[in-house]
């Protein structure tokens, strides 16, 4: 190898190394660490630019630094010049952490620390920068939140940034939100056309901005804003109606659940079971018991409680039927008294054996939370599940009564007992099965009820009068009537509540039913034909 070549290579290597170092040095001035260093020494005017540069590096730590600067918690150790973040600034010794690595550095006397000064102008700038940072994160949900936070907060500097951001944003919802945020700014600046953008939004901040615009000096702007507000108001009204309907349906489905078992025992069999509420209570307590059996798995326990609640209540129902009701056939008022006695015994049993206090039933995660339909309307999940459950139970019962052998026999026995028996139907067995079915459904009702009401010894009492009202209102012996009656009573109750209050609404509904029964003694859907002549 010739010496020339070797030299040439060495020169090349040195040159390369030198170049690399130079490039490195250039990069370092723009590296987050360097920017942070420069920040400490910079004047107030320069700081904003530095912070902006810092945020544009895309460094994950940028957010933490910006927040620390905003809160005046970024500090420099006077001796070493190292940058730290003050974690806790109470007392004489402050707890600090390394600004770059986040490593805990223990405590240090506050005299040895020099905090970075911030003024209000800088703080406002930082807020803007922070919200823009959030607009660039990967999760669209977080971007949407960030965009929502920007509503009404946009200033001139931010507006240009948002416009830039709008070009690259690919999520529709976030885009809409950003457009709204910009439009609010433009309306504030007196832009009449921007009002049109806002007219569909249900956001309260948008409404506030429009309300401001109504009072503006520009008549064109004021008129446009007023129009937009009216259309928003219209939309809100619709949403409120939808919300009331949802609450009404959910309350109604609770009533249906509570009453549907009674519709079987009272409506079909003609047995007045005052212990019906306590059977619901047994279902709710079964849920609680299952959750004690499967600690930490409330969802599994809840699902297992559905068959368990049915079984427990059905067995209790069989016991009641065999021990008392079969002896009181054809004496409805006596049955009423005896089953009331049973309800007292069951209540006291729960009080003595378990506790007179309410038990807590855990709501599994997949049942809590809510679905947000739009800014003004969100549906709570647990009520949605109750509505669904009620409909499923109703459909199941309908199928049993219409399509199965048991349903056929039940209808035969209730219509003409003697004839049914002479056709070979075991009437006593059918009685037991029917009562067990009705009781079991009451137990089923207790499972979802445990999610939305207190599980205590009085749970049943709270539902018994309502349940009877629903069955009587709907027409005895008619499952469809029970469904319609339950849902409509729930909705009426919710409609009355806003202007009458909860208690008065309930009273009014009760009075309404009492009056209704005077008019139609056999309910909404009376039985026709021979079965009606009871």
């Amino acid at each position: 190898m010739s010496i020339h070549r070797l030299l040439a290579r060495m020169v090349l290597a040195v040159c390369l190394a030198l170049g690399a170092t130079l490039a490195n040095a250039q990069a370092q001035t723009n590296a987050p660490e360097a920017l942070l260093k420069r920040l400490v020494e910079a004047g107030q005017a320069e700081k904003t630019d530095l912070l902006k540069a810092l945020s544009e590096t895309g460094d994950e730590r940028a957010r933490g630094w910006l927040e620390a600067v905003r809160d005046g918690k970024l500090a420099m150790i006077e001796d070493t010049g190292a940058l730290v973040i003050v974690v806790n600034n109470r007392g004489r010794n402050w707890q600090i952490a390394d600004a770059l690595t986040g490593e805990d550095l223990g405590e240090m006397s506050r005299r040895d620390l020099q905090s970075l000064r911030v003024n209000n102008a800088l703080r406002a700038d930082i807020e803007g920068i922070l919200s823009v940072i959030d607009l660039t994160v990967a999760d669209p949900g977080q971007r949407l939140d960030a965009a929502r936070n920007l509503l009404g907060e946009v200033n001139e500097a931010l507006a240009t940034q948002l416009q830039a951001r709008l070009q690259v944003e690919d999520n529709g919802q976030v885009r809409d939100m950003l457009t709204n945020a910009l439009a609010i700014y433009q309306v504030e600046q007196g832009d009449v056309e921007a009002v049109a953008t806002l007219s569909g939004s249900l956001n309260p901040t948008v409404r506030a901005a429009l309300n401001n615009a109504v009072n503006s000096d520009d008549p064109a702007l004021a008129a446009a804003a007023e129009e937009a507000l009216a259309s928003i108001e219209q939309k809100l009204k619709l949403n409120r109606a939808a919300e009331t309907l949802y609450f009404g349906l959910s309350l109604g489905s609770v009533l249906v659940l509570a009453a549907i078992g009674l519709a079987i025992t009272f409506g079909v069999m003609g047995v007045i079971n005052m212990a019906h509420g306590e059977l619901i209570m047994l279902g709710a307590y079964t849920t609680w018991g299952m959750q004690q059996l499967f600690p930490g798995q409330p969802g599994l326990a809840l699902i297992l409680s559905i068959p368990a609640g049915f079984l427990v209540a059905a067995l209790a129902g069989i016991a009641i039927e065999r021990s008392v009701i079969q002896y009181l056939k054809g004496r409805p008022l006596e049955t009423l008294l005896a089953t009331f006695g049973i309800s007292l015994i069951l209540q006291q049993l729960v009080r003595t054996v378990i506790s007179p206090l309410n038990r807590t039933v855990v709501t599994p995660e997949w049942m809590s939370g809510s679905i947000m339909v739009n800014e003004a309307l969100s549906l709570t999940l647990n009520r949605l599940y109750v509505i669904g459950f009620a409909l499923v139970v109703f459909a199941g019962l309908m199928l049993i009564m219409r399509k199965t052998r048991l349903g056929l026999e039940v209808r035969a026995v209730t219509q003409n007992r003697a004839m049914a028996r002479s056709m070979g139907i075991k009437a006593t067995k059918v009685d037991i099965m029917t009562f067990a079915l009705g009781s079991g459904v009451a137990g089923l009702a207790g499972v979802p009820l445990s999610q939305i009401t207190n599980v205590g010894p009085n749970l049943g009492q709270n539902y018994i009068i309502d349940s009877f009202m629903v069955v009587v209102f709907g027409g005895v012996g008619n499952l469809w009537g029970t469904l319609i009656a339950g849902l409509s009573l729930g909705t009426i109750n919710q409609l009355l509540e806003p202007w009458a209050g909860a208690v008065l609404a309930k009273i009014m509904v009760l009075v309404l039913i009492i009056l209704f029964i005077q008019k139609c003694p056999r309910g909404l859907f009376p039985q026709k034909g021979r079965a009606a002549e009871g």
């Binding site: 007045i272 008392v324 002896y327 009181l328 004496r331 409805p332 008022l333 006596e334 049955t335 009423l336 008294l337 005896a338 009331f340 006695g341 049973i342 309800s343 007292l344 015994i345 209540q347 006291q348 049993l349 009080r351 003595t352 009492q461 009068i465 009877f468 009202m469 009587v472 208690v503 008065l504 309930k506 009273i507 009760l510 009075v511 039913i513 009492i514 009056l515 029964i517 005077q518 008019k519 003694p521």
Partner: protein
């Protein structure tokens, strides 16, 4: 044909009524004697507390008679008679409240304490007149009577009977309970009316007043019993029993069933109101819990235990159950609901005619007479 005079006097010719009144007055005399003339340390002395307790039982007995009148002789199982009782009680309570005058905690000469507390400036219109005893006593009859009239008119006219009627009477008392719990109603809300001082000028805390109230209750029970007896032995009473046993048939015979039902129902409600009015000064408080469906249904079980359609059975049942309640809740409060619940079941399954039914059966055996005096449905 019976004239109006013998109509009211007829019950006195019955052996059962004579016996009932005899026992009642004898008991009242004995209690009075033991209370007044026995030295306090004697074992036979009846304390003022016991006198009031007995007075309370007699109020319940009158209430039970009222329920038996509609259930036993009209076949209407009212699960809302507690409402009439409570309304009579509230009418009396309002009078007693006005009697407090400026001796209340806030010392307002007109407004009761709870109204001052709620910052009300003047007496609501429906409180007017309750400072006069005669007005209040009329209202004791009128308030429950009017409610029964309106409710009964609507219900009987549209032929709501049987279980449906029972359930809506229960709904009625439940609705009233919710309403009276509200402070805005102006009846003291949750706490009800209490802290009474005197009645007709007599101090409510003095032993003499308590004895007087006890005797008044006894007389009211006697009068109520005789009135009920007179009704059930009259022609009207026979029609009402016919309504109970075969409503449609009675209607086809040309009787206005709903009028009979309405009359008996209203009389019964008024009797319940009187019972409530006598109850309030003796226990010293009236609150919405008297409207609770549980209380109303408890009354029915007193009657069921004593025996329906006998009237004296209702009295026996009310006294027995309430005595048992006092004993039980004193010794082991937890067991009371078990006992009450078991009573409901046992009476309906094993004693459909109640204690009176047992007594009648024994008498029939002794006399060897066929056929019961009173048919029960």
């Amino acid at each position: 044909m019976a004239t109006s005079q013998t109509w009211l006097l007829r019950p006195f010719q019955e052996r059962s009524t004579q016996l009932f009144l005899g026992v009642l007055f004898a008991a009242m005399v004995v209690v009075t004697f033991l209370h007044l003339f026995m030295p306090e340390d004697s074992a036979l002395h009846v304390s003022a507390y016991t006198v009031t307790l007995l007075g309370k039982y007699l109020c319940y007995a009158l209430l039970a008679v009222a329920v038996d009148l509609v259930w036993g002789y009209l076949g209407i199982l009212s699960l809302g008679h507690g409402a009439f009782f409570a309304l009579g009680g509230y009418a009396m309570g309002m009078y007693l409240m006005r009697q407090i005058g400026d001796r209340g905690v806030y010392g307002d000469p007109v407004l009761p304490d709870f109204m001052v507390f709620l910052n009300w400036q003047e007496l609501p219109w429906y409180w007017q007149g309750f400072d006069m005893a005669w007005f209040a006593f009329i209202m004791v009859l009128l308030a429950p009577g009017l409610l029964a009239l309106v409710f009964g008119f609507l219900a009987f006219r549209s032929r709501v009977t049987g279980v449906y009627l029972s359930i809506i009477t229960q709904a009625l008392t439940f609705a009233l309970m919710l309403a009276f719990f509200r402070n805005e109603m102006g009846f003291g809300g949750n706490n009800g009316l209490t802290d009474f001082k005197d009645i007709l000028g007599f101090d409510l805390r003095s032993d003499a007043t308590r004895l007087g109230l006890f005797l008044a209750t006894g007389i009211a029970l006697a009068v109520g019993y005789v009135v009920c007896r007179a009704i059930v032995t009259s022609k009207l009473g026979r029609v009402s029993v016919a309504c109970r046993d075969a409503e449609a048939r009675t209607r086809f015979l040309g009787y206005r069933v709903e009028r009979v039902q309405l009359f008996v129902f209203v009389v019964s409600a008024m009797l319940a109101g009187v019972a409530g009015a006598l109850y309030v000064p003796q226990v010293g408080i009236i609150n919405p819990s008297e409207f609770s469906p549980l209380f109303s249904i408890e009354i029915v079980v007193w009657v069921a235990l004593g025996g329906r359609a006998t009237l004296y059975g209702a009295v026996i049942g009310a006294l027995l159950v309430n005595y048992a309640k006092t004993v039980f809740t004193g010794i082991m409060p937890d067991a009371w609901l078990f006992a009450l619940g078991a009573l409901f079941v046992l009476v309906t399954v094993f004693l459909p005619k109640g204690i009176a039914g047992l007594l009648q059966k024994r008498r029939q055996k002794d006399d060897d007479q066929p056929g019961a005096q009173e048919a029960t449905a």
